[in-house]
């Protein structure tokens, strides 16, 4: 159908980003193809050490699923997006395909091994999330291609993650957000993945911060080195939410807090996370 309508057509998933953009005339698609009536596009399945999400799975369905209780960084994300009403409509596939630099899912899922399964009349292909988003609001999707499924590998035992967003109020995008996944062996960090949202055109991987943690016992000094690396890695724009310097400081502070929660979770402790409101 998208092939017939040409590139002036746009897909409508939850509509919680697209409809507001259309009202502002920032988006002006000639045709909208509503995916909400397509059966079998909303599901959460666990299979072979991976969690699979249908593209139209709503944030609230993920928030309330038993799987996200056992995979807490997913719960941090799903339960913290905007507000109840938006979570009841908004979808994980829509969030990823929209590729808004301030979106939550891409930042979180880049700390995981995540594949995007895409479908077009010509082919079905699997793209790693790290290759899927190419720029702000841009992905590798062709105009007649859609996101069919999101596949997230379950972290190893001894691994813990956390996602924190700093927001002015619930329904708005975060000022800065931080996702951290740590694999620990006793006190020593085996593997780290730190990704920041809202501080670049795409989610920012702070690889030097990952390196600062890897192979080390995580203490205040090591965390301070990682925080410095985060400040350097991010490239925030000053706007009504704060100056670039403020956002750098905020990014480092969120990473510090997310590291402490991820370490506790890596040990198997249950920690409830709630986003931080200014």
């Amino acid at each position: 159908m998208l092939g017939q309508l040409g590139d002036e057509a746009k897909l409508l998933a939850g509509g919680q980003s697209l409809i507001p953009l259309m009202k502002l005339r920032f988006a002006n698609p000639r045709h909208l193809v509503d995916l909400n009536f397509v059966a079998g596009t909303s599901y959460i399945q666990e299979d072979n050490g991976a969690v699979k999400f249908g593209a139209l799975t709503r944030h609230s369905e993920i928030e309330n699923s038993p799987i996200s209780q056992r995979f807490p960084i997913l719960h941090d994300c799903a339960a913290g997006i905007a507000d109840v009403q938006i979570r009841n409509r908004g979808t994980i596939g829509g969030s990823l395909a929209e590729a808004d630099p301030s979106g939550d899912w891409a930042t979180v899922l880049l700390t995981q091994k995540t594949d995007i399964r895409c479908l077009s009349p010509r082919q079905e292909r699997t793209v790693p999330l790290s290759d899927f988003i190419t720029d702000a609001y841009s992905t590798v999707l062709e105009h007649d291609e859609l996101v069919r499924e999101i596949v997230v590998k379950r972290p190893d035992k001894g691994s813990g993650g956390a996602y924190l967003a700093f927001k002015r109020s619930a329904p708005v995008y975060p000022t800065v957000s931080a996702a951290v996944q740590l694999t620990m062996k006793e006190d020593v960090c085996q593997h780290a993945s730190i990704v920041l949202g809202c501080v670049g055109l795409v989610p920012v991987r702070a690889q030097e911060a990952d390196e600062a943690l890897r192979g080390r016992k995580i203490d205040d000094k090591v965390i301070a080195t990682a925080m410095d690396a985060v400040r350097t890695a991010v490239d925030p724009q000053p706007d009504m939410r704060g100056s670039a310097e403020y956002k750098r400081t905020l990014a480092a502070a969120l990473v510090k807090r997310a590291i402490s929660i991820a370490m506790l979770r890596a040990r198997g402790e249950r920690v409830e996370v709630s986003h931080i409101y200014a």
Binding site: G15, Q16, P20, D34, V84, Q85, I86, N88
Partner: protein, 162 residues
């Protein structure tokens, strides 16, 4: 000027009553409710997906009716504030908002009452944190929220007793 577009026929239930209407595909659900069905209890506050004054229940889940097209409600069951009262009797939630002075100007109240309905249907005794999360998408500029918290707790209590 926008070019004219063909109307689409949809069927939906609002507060239990079936409707068959013909709407332009670009019409928002809130416009259908207010302008075609004359159910003006659902308010338009910000029209930018922020304030939650337009909150209604669709198939039991709260949605912002300014951020959905009416055609997307084809086949759905919608509940608005007009559907709370039964046989001239206020719903326990409406009574609780009145008894607790959980409103001042009242503009946000229909949306808040429907968010309350979704919350207390599952949970008669919500904690303060649960209430905060449940109404995070409903903005009130008058009350300072304290009496809304009281109203929601009382509503849960009323519903449990009912």
């Amino acid at each position: 000027m926008p070019e004219p577009v063909d109307k689409v026929s949809i069927q939906l239930k609002v507060n239990g009553k079936p409707y068959a209407v013909s709407v332009e595909p670009r019409m928002l659900l809130v416009e259908l409710l207010r302008e075609e069905l004359d159910l003006t209890g659902t308010h338009v506050g910000c029209d930018t997906t922020y304030c939650g004054a337009c909150t209604v229940l669709m198939n039991g889940a709260t949605v912002k009716s300014c951020t959905m097209f009416a055609v997307q409600a084809d086949g759905a069951e919608i509940q608005t504030v007009e559907g709370l009262e039964k046989d001239g009797q206020l719903h326990p939630i409406q009574k609780a908002f009145g008894d607790s002075y959980g409103l001042q100007c009242g503009y946000c109240t229909p949306g808040l009452m429907l968010s309350t309905l979704q919350l207390i249907t599952k949970n008669h005794e919500p904690s303060e944190t649960e209430i905060r999360k449940a109404i995070a998408g409903n903005t009130c500029r008058c009350t300072g929220y304290q009496n809304i918290f009281k109203a929601i707790r009382l509503a849960g209590h009323n519903l449990k007793g009912a």
